[in-house]
């Protein structure tokens, strides 16, 4: 029987930026992340990236208790999971160790 292919967790550049921001601020909502890193994160794609990261188990989310304005809609607040922190640490270590070797 053929061996089942092992799925290696990956972290794209955007996902890496999101986790770095969440580790720095503990919890944030989408627009806050876009304001914090406008060059890398865009309003039209941030929630697609966040949704995908949630599917992968890197982050978790909840709705905020009350919207900022009367008549507004509650925003979704994101936090990193233990798995997300671990992958971010391993991914960063791999990049730090491997990047200088491939840069030669």
């Amino acid at each position: 029987m053929a061996a089942k292919r092992l799925r290696v967790p990956r972290l794209s550049e955007k996902e890496s930026i999101v986790i770095a921001l969440l580790l720095e601020h503990e919890q944030m909502y989408g627009l806050e992340m876009v304001s914090a890193s406008p060059r890398h994160l865009k309003r039209g794609t941030i929630y697609v990236t966040l949704g995908r990261m949630e599917d992968k188990g890197y982050i978790t989310s909840r709705l905020e208790d009350a919207p900022p304005h009367a008549g507004g809609l509650p925003r979704r607040i994101y936090r990193p999971t233990a798995q997300g922190r671990q992958i971010f640490a391993v991914w960063n270590r791999a990049l730090t160790e491997l990047a200088p070797r491939f840069a030669r």
């Binding site: 909502y29 039209g44 794609t45 929630y47 697609v48 966040l50 949704g51 900022p68 304005h69 925003r75």
Partner: protein, 320 residues
């Protein structure tokens, strides 16, 4: 503003899964709403309008991305049942398209046999003109017999993507390739290295539209009618794969056993061919308008698909 958000939410509900709506669309809508209220509370009406316009575009972009992501996932993550259904359909499609192409080309080639045997090039030049008819004829048995009771929402979406691809290829073929191939065939048949004058079937879609615009309207049987028929036929035949796909998908819900399915497939193929011939002959003869003659097969098949869809009872469908 609330009605705009409701409209965008309705669009998203139609296209996206509940999880995608909860995790991707609702947060975007919440940002849009809160930014708008923030602008209103500050009294900047221009800013609020700007937020409304750009926010609307952003939500549409998110909906498009989510839909694209979902489609790609459904293409790359096929379960065994779906894969078998698609492979069987593709096999039947390839065989029937090849057979139908040969059947369509054969009578034309046999006419050249009177003077000399046709060359391989001449046979190849006729293939593009045969494909727009052969593709719908191939799709009917491929979808009815290949999909059968394995119809699920994933299969349905993939079949529609497949039909859409066939439609786009047919359009490109009819607009540019067929005229060039027809002209090459006629030049080769003449055998003296001089290109004969172009008729309606040898003009590209843009050339034919320009010719129609520059020619004054004439009565039945006038040369313009042939140009009009050729123009409308190209649009209609380009959309034929989608029309027959809708028909076949509606039919797979209704007929469940192989033998009745084979009979229905045969009837549908013969019906399609008959409608194409009747539409074309009547449009050229002036009994039908060029547009009606060209669109007759599509109109009949789409109407039949809609009728089957409306009278369909969900208890008879295979589980998704």
């Amino acid at each position: 503003m609330t009605s705009l958000i409701d409209r965008l939410r309705r669009l998203a509900t139609w296209l996206c899964t509940p999880v995608s709506i909860e995790r991707r669309i609702e947060p975007t809508l919440a940002d849009l709403r809160n930014e708008y209220l923030d602008a209103i509370s500050r009294g900047s009406h221009w800013k609020s309008r700007w937020v409304q316009a750009t926010g609307c575009l952003i939500v549409l972009k998110v909906v498009s991305l989510v839909t694209l992501e979902r489609t790609l996932r459904s293409v790359t993550h096929l379960d065994a049942r779906t894969r078998t259904a698609l492979l069987e359909s593709a096999g039947i499609f390839a065989i029937v398209v090849a057979l139908a192409t040969v059947v369509i080309i054969a009578p034309v080639l046999s006419r050249t046999l009177v003077e000399r045997p046709p060359t391989a090039h001449e046979a190849l030049y006729l293939v593009p003109a045969a494909l727009p008819l052969a593709i719908p004829l191939g799709l009917i048995p491929a979808l009815i017999l290949g999909v059968r009771e394995r119809l699920s929402s994933q299969v349905r979406n993939l079949v529609l993507v497949w039909a859409l691809c066939c439609s786009m290829l047919s359009f490109a073929n009819l607009a540019w390739l067929v005229p060039a191939a027809n002209q090459a065939y006629r030049t080769s048949l003449l055998g003296i290295g001089i290109e004969p004058g172009k008729g309606p079937n040898e003009l590209t879609l843009r050339e034919i539209a320009r010719h129609i615009e520059s020619t004054p309207v004439s009565g039945p049987g006038a040369p313009l009618r042939h140009y009009l028929v050729s123009y409308h036929v190209r649009w209609a035949y380009s959309l034929a794969p989608l029309a027959v796909a809708l028909f076949a998908l509606a039919l797979t819900r209704r007929v469940r056993h192989l033998l009745p399915m084979a009979a229905v497939t045969l009837v549908a193929c013969c019906g399609w061919t008959l409608l194409v011939m009747v539409g074309s002959v009547f449009a050229r003869g002036g009994q039908l308008t060029p547009m009606l003659g060209a669109w007759l097969p599509n109109a009949v098949f789409i109407s039949a698909a809609l009728a089957m869809r409306w009278t369909w009872r969900p208890t008879r469908v295979a589980s998704d």
